[in-house]
Every structure is written in structure tokens, then in C-alpha cells.
């Protein structure tokens, strides 16, 4: 590549028309991101037919900007209401929501948006300079590697420990069970549907999350009275500047999360595992891990940086190989075909203006996005001032719409309600919800990848040892699982060594 390509791309991306589309895309995307159940993939799919009348470069800019908007928007409801608008925002709720309850919603939102932007910018830079090079790495990831990644994400998160271990196990298993309901693609058999049509679609992650986190949290919080907590203090833009002053302190978390996000995003794996993994690492490496989950700013920075880095990185395999790196990218690929473009490795050579216009628009789109959402931080934070008797029915209605929109199915709305009650009961009885949700989101993929791997190896588990990438990831995963058991020994060892060092007379 040369800089003239990028320059050409910017000429496209900065045209008045395309800037307008980027702007519209970001607004629509933010709305879609806020509505739980209508994810980036749905949003892009919904707009797709309307893009036929546009030139392809404008069309892709509109759609990708919508995607960036959805990535930004997902954080808003996570922080304010504990309702993740998107799967990758689940980890954002862990600390973002407690912050909002403490009246620090503005800070949490600022941190989330800024982190998102940093992650996106990092990935965009890497894509700009290394896209074709990295594409080949993505190809090396077959089912065994994908399984290993899922396994690593899971072990990194669960190995964090905390709470009653048996109840954690119950949560995990329940998540996996829910994930197994529906069609088993490996054999084409229906599982646990008992002939009920409504069960065939299985339990969607988003529906479960809206119920468990969103409705469950409302039920829990009203126990202390019919009101919302967390009326923000500063309702002006100063909160943005104040938060920015603090953020550079977390540069390590930013850097780590950028890498995790990009690494997980540009090959099949995705933003959701990236956000969980990044959160786990942030907590692990933190000096005060106990503060995580109580409203720690770093706990917002980590998942949001990673999620947005991964979201942008997911475009890389789409541009270079025609592989969808995420469900949203899959829909965009469909768009390329509809516009008469051939997605895949030839796109870079045959449609350079399109590709570089798209890459350049990643810069413009994300800049427009971050400026816009930051400008609205005070407004978003002010939502919590709306009287309880108005906000509650509106949230419940939005949740119901979101649950319905996932599959256009009424049954999902009922599930949502049921999950709400389950979330309430579980939370009160100390069953942790996050492992359940992670198991639900990873369960399906992990089982498929595992079984595909085993079919490839004809039933031999050795396939996870003999492939180099898989072996390394699996080894790391096993270390994380063993962490709670090894950690005390390590600490002991370190203390002894420290004592030994202290004991040696100086001057040696």
C-alpha cells in the first residue's frame, strides 16, 4: 500500500456527502445500540435495502458508521440501567452501573466513550498499515483454535473467583444448558425442544441479559423504595474534562485492552469474548482488584476499549478476505454483493477507492461518533433524573421491544420476564449472573468448535496439543484455571525470595 491510497480514501471520506452519511449513520447506530435487542447486525440489515440507491462507497460508510454508533450506544444503557444494549457491553455493566448508582454516571459514560474511541483508533491504525499481512493470520484459525480462544476467555474470567464456588458452577452449567437448547448444527438434531416450536429458536443471549440484568436489577433496586438512585452531580460538560484528566493514569489498561480487542476481533472470536477477557485481565493486574465490581473506572475502560477495538478489527477479515469477522460484518458482506461488488481478497486491487474510502471513513466516523456522544453525556446522565413512575414503564417497554425484536417472537418477551425473576432470585441467593451469561454466549460456539475439531481428528483430543497455536492458547487457559490454586504458592515463593534478598548482607 502507499500513502496515496489512504489519501485517495480520505478524499472520498471527507466529501460533504459522505460526511453527512457518516453523521446519519452514527446517529442511527447510537439509537440502535441503545435499544437492547436491535444490535449492529440488525441495524445494518434493516438499512441494507435502502442503500441500493447510493454509490457503494457512501453506502458502506453509512453502514459502518451505523456500526460504530451501535458500539458507542451499547454502553449507555449498560451504565445507566444495567441493561447491556449489546452483548459486548455486558462487562461494562459490572463497574459502569455501580458508578451510575454512586452518582458518577457522567464519568462512567465519558470513560466508556473515550475508551471506545481509543480502541477503535488503535484498530484502525493497524488496519491501515497491516491489513493484508494480518489477513493470513486470521486464516490460520480453524475450529480447534476457535475453541481454544473460547476456552481461554472462559478460564480467564471464571478463574477470577469470588463468591460461592458451587453456586458459580451452577450458574455456569445453567448457562451452557440454555445455550444447548435448539438445533444442534453438528448432527442436525433438535435438543431439549420437546416438540415445542417456540423452543426451537433456543434462548437468545440478549433476551436472557435484558431479563437477568435489566429487569432483575429494577426488581432488586425497588426493594428499597420506588425510586432510582444516582442523580448525577455535575450535569455539564465539565465532567468530560475532569474524567479526561484521570484517564491517562490507566494507560496500561488501555494498551492491554487495545491489543486484546484487536487480537480477538480480527479473527473469528469477536468483541464479546474480547470485552470479558480484557475485564478479567484488568482485574488481575490491578493493584486493588477488590474494587472491581464496586464502581471502578478501570472496569469500564477495559471492556469498552477492547470491545470497540474488536468491533473495528472485525472489519479487517471482511475487507481483505471476504470473511465476516462478526455477525454485523456478515450482513455488510451481503451488502457488497448487492451493490455489485465482489467481497474477498480481490477487493483491495479491483476497488481500491472503495476499500480506502472505507478505511478512511473509520477515522472520520469514529471521530464524529466520539464527539457526538461526548457532547450528549450530560443529557444521557440526566435521564436518571426522570421521575421513577415515568422511567420504569418506559424502560420495561423498551426491554420488551428489544426482546421481541431479536427473533420477532412474542415468546422472547415472556422469557425476558421470566429471566427477570430468575435474575432477582439468583442475585438475592448469591448465584453470580455473569458466569451464566458468559456460558450462554460462548456455549453454542464453543461446543460447535469443539465437536468440529473432534470430527476433524476423528474423536482424538490430541488435536488440541498438536496444533501450535491451539496448544499455546490451551496451555494459557489451563494456567488461568489453575490460578486460584497456584496463586497462594506463588505469593509464598515471592515472599520467601524477597526475604532471602533482604537477608543477604549488602555489598555482596
Amino acid at each position: 500500500m502507499g500513502f496515496e491510497d489512504l489519501f485517495l480514501g480520505f478524499q472520498h471520506a471527507l466529501s460533504a456527502q459522505n460526511l453527512f452519511f457518516a453523521f446519519v449513520g452514527v446517529i442511527l447506530g447510537t439509537i440502535i445500540g441503545v435499544l437492547p435487542g436491535l444490535g449492529g447486525a440488525n441495524g445494518v440489515a434493516i438499512l441494507l435495502p435502502l442503500t441500493l440507491r447510493m454509490p457503494p462507497t457512501s453506502a458502506i460508510i453509512l453502514l459502518t458508521s451505523l456500526y460504530w454508533g451501535a458500539l458507542f450506544g451499547g454502553a449507555i444503557t449498560s451504565i445507566l440501567f444495567n441493561i447491556p444494549g449489546e452483548p459486548w457491553s455486558v462487562a461494562t455493566t459490572f463497574d459502569g452501573y455501580p458508578m451510575a448508582r454512586q452518582g458518577k454516571g457522567g464519568q462512567a459514560l465519558t470513560a466508556a466513550f473515550t475508551s471506545s474511541f481509543v480502541g477503535a483508533f488503535f484498530s484502525t491504525l493497524l488496519i491501515t498499515f497491516f491489513a493484508p499481512l494480518l489477513a493470513d493470520v486470521a486464516l490460520r484459525f480453524g475450529p480447534p483454535e476457535i475453541f481454544a480462544i473460547q476456552f481461554l476467555t472462559f478460564s480467564a474470567f471464571v478463574g477470577l473467583g469470588g463468591g460461592n464456588p458451587v453456586k458459580t458452577l451452577v450458574s455456569i452449567v445453567l448457562g451452557f444448558i440454555l445455550a444447548a437448547v435448539g438445533l444442534d448444527i453438528v448432527t442436525g438434531q433438535l435438543r431439549m425442544t420437546f416438540g415445542v416450536t417456540d423452543l426451537m429458536q433456543g434462548f437468545d443471549f440478549i433476551v436472557a441479559v435484558i431479563g437477568l440484568f435489566g429487569i432483575g436489577e429494577i426488581l432488586l433496586s425497588v426493594e428499597e423504595g420506588l425510586s432510582f438512585k444516582g442523580v448525577a452531580t455535575g450535569m455539564n460538560l465539565r465532567v468530560v474534562l475532569e474524567t479526561w484528566k484521570v484517564l491517562p493514569r490507566y494507560w496500561r489498561t488501555f494498551a492491554r485492552s487495545c491489543f486484546i480487542g484487536f487480537w480477538m476481533g480480527f479473527k473469528p472470536g469477536g468483541a464479546t469474548p474480547a470485552s470479558f477477557m480484557s475485564y478479567s485481565f484488568a482485574k488481575r493486574f490491578s493493584k486493588n482488584p477488590a474494587r472491581f465490581g464496586q464502581g471502578e473506572l478501570e472496569g469500564v475502560v477495559a471492556p469498552e476499549t477492547a470491545a470497540h477495538a474488536a468491533g473495528v478489527a472485525a472489519m479487517l477479515p471482511m475487507i481483505t478476505l471476504g470473511i465476516p469477522g462478526s455477525p454485523t460484518a456478515a450482513v455488510m458482506l451481503g451488502g457488497l454483493v448487492m451493490w455489485g461488488l465482489q467481497p474477498g481478497p480481490m477487493l483491495f486491487r479491483e476497488k481500491a477507492d472503495f476499500v480506502w474510502g472505507l478505511i478512511a471513513s473509520m477515522y472520520t466516523g469514529n471521530i464524529i461518533g466520539v464527539v457526538m456522544v461526548l457532547a450528549f453525556v450530560p443529557l444521557f446522565a440526566a435521564i436518571l433524573r426522570v421521575p421513577f413512575a415515568i422511567l420504569t414503564p418506559v424502560i420495561v417497554t423498551v426491554c420488551a421491544i428489544g426482546a421481541y425484536a431479536v427473533h420477532n417472537a412474542m415468546i422472547d418477551v415472556w422469557y425476558m420476564l421470566a429471566f427477570g425473576v430468575v435474575g432477582y432470585v439468583f442475585k438475592k441467593l448469591d448465584y453470580p449472573l455473569a458466569p451464566l451469561v458468559l456460558a450462554l454466549v460462548l456455549g453454542d460456539h464453543a461446543e460447535n468448535a469443539l465437536r468440529q475439531s473432534l470430527i476433524m481428528s476423528q474423536g482424538s483430543l490430541a488435536i488440541f496439543m498438536t496444533r501450535p497455536i491451539t496448544a499455546v492458547i490451551m496451555a494459557a487457559a489451563i494456567v488461568f484455571f489453575a490460578m486460584p490454586a497456584i496463586a497462594p504458592w506463588l505469593r509464598l515463593l515471592r515472599r520467601r525470595r524477597a526475604r532471602a534478598v533482604a537477608a543477604t548482607p549488602p555489598g555482596d
Binding site: I31, L38, N42, G43, I46, N164, V166, K167, L169, V170, V173, L174, F176, I177, A180, D184, V186, T187, Q189, R191, M192, F194, I215, I218, L219, V222, E223, E224, L226, P387, F388, A389, I390, T392, P393, V394, V396, T397, A400, I401, Y404, A405, N408, M410, V413, W414, L417, G420, V421, Y424, V425, K428, L429, Y431, E447, R451, L454, I455, Q458, G459
Partner: protein, 154 residues
């Protein structure tokens, strides 16, 4: 607290049993090319039952703390959220989401918030109307509709 804990474990064990039952139907073995459909569900079900047994043991081995799962004062507001939400879902099935949410928002504002009738009318009609425009017109996402929308030609 104890009763709720026990009831939850009982429900979970029931789930475990159902999972096992279905897993056996699907085949729990290890076929020539990897596990059969019921393999993982079988072990998930078994693990769930075992874990539940341990939780039961924990409950039995602990003295009742005498803390109720939920006090009467707490249950009141919880139900005040839960019942209307359930009503919303039931009404949505009959009237569609737009009419149902208008009634729900209006009712809630009056019942819990005792807001003025003017703001109730504005919000309970305005919010569903905006939702309608956004979903049915802009995004072309069909949401559940009832007789009113049908009559209007949607």
C-alpha cells in the same frame, strides 16, 4: 431465606432431570467422529444435579439465619413493578405493543407517580407514537400489532 434457597435448588434439580432425560434420548455416547448430540447435555445435567446436591448440603449444614428472603416491605414495591410488567406482556399479545405500552405507561404514571393527567396523556400517547414511527416507518421492523393498527391498515 432457607425456603427460597431450597425451592431454587429444587427447581434447578428439576431442570437437571429434564436435561438428562432429553440427553439420553439423543444418545450420550462418543460416536465414531466425536460426541453425540446428548453427550454434553448429559454431563451438564449430571454436573447440575451434583452441584445442587452440594448446595443442599451447604444449606443443611448451616443454621437458619432467620433472615427472610424478602420482607413484606420489600415485596410490595417489587410486585408493584412485576405485575404491571406482566400485564404489559399479556396486553401486548392481545392489543399489540403500541396500545399496550400506552395503557401501561399511563396507568403506571397515575398509579405510582400520581402525575397530572395532562402529562400522562402526552407521554402515554407520545412515546408509543414515536416508537411506532421509528420502528414501523424508519426501520421497517414489524412489532406486535393489534386490532387498532389493523384497522389503520398496518
Amino acid at each position: 431465606m432457607r425456603a427460597a434457597d431450597l425451592a431454587t435448588v429444587a427447581v434447578l434439580m428439576l431442570v437437571g432431570g429434564v436435561v438428562l432425560f432429553d440427553a439420553v434420548r439423543l444418545g450420550i455416547g462418543w460416536g465414531t467422529d466425536g460426541p453425540q448430540s446428548g453427550f454434553f447435555p448429559f454431563w451438564l445435567g449430571t454436573t447440575l444435579l451434583l452441584a445442587c446436591a452440594v448446595v443442599l448440603g451447604q444449606i443443611a449444614g448451616r443454621k437458619p439465619r432467620g433472615v427472610p428472603f424478602v420482607t413484606r416491605e420489600q415485596l410490595g414495591p417489587v410486585l408493584k413493578v412485576l405485575w404491571p410488567a406482566t400485564a404489559l406482556v399479556v396486553l401486548t399479545q392481545v392489543l399489540g405493543i403500541y396500545v399496550a405500552s400506552a395503557l401501561y405507561i399511563g396507568f403506571y404514571m397515575r398509579w405510582v407517580g400520581a402525575h397530572s393527567w395532562r402529562s400522562i396523556v402526552v407521554l402515554s400517547i407520545g412515546i408509543p407514537l414515536v416508537t411506532f414511527l421509528v420502528f414501523e416507518h424508519w426501520f421497517l421492523v414489524p412489532l406486535p400489532k393489534g386490532p387498532l393498527e389493523q384497522w389503520l391498515g398496518y
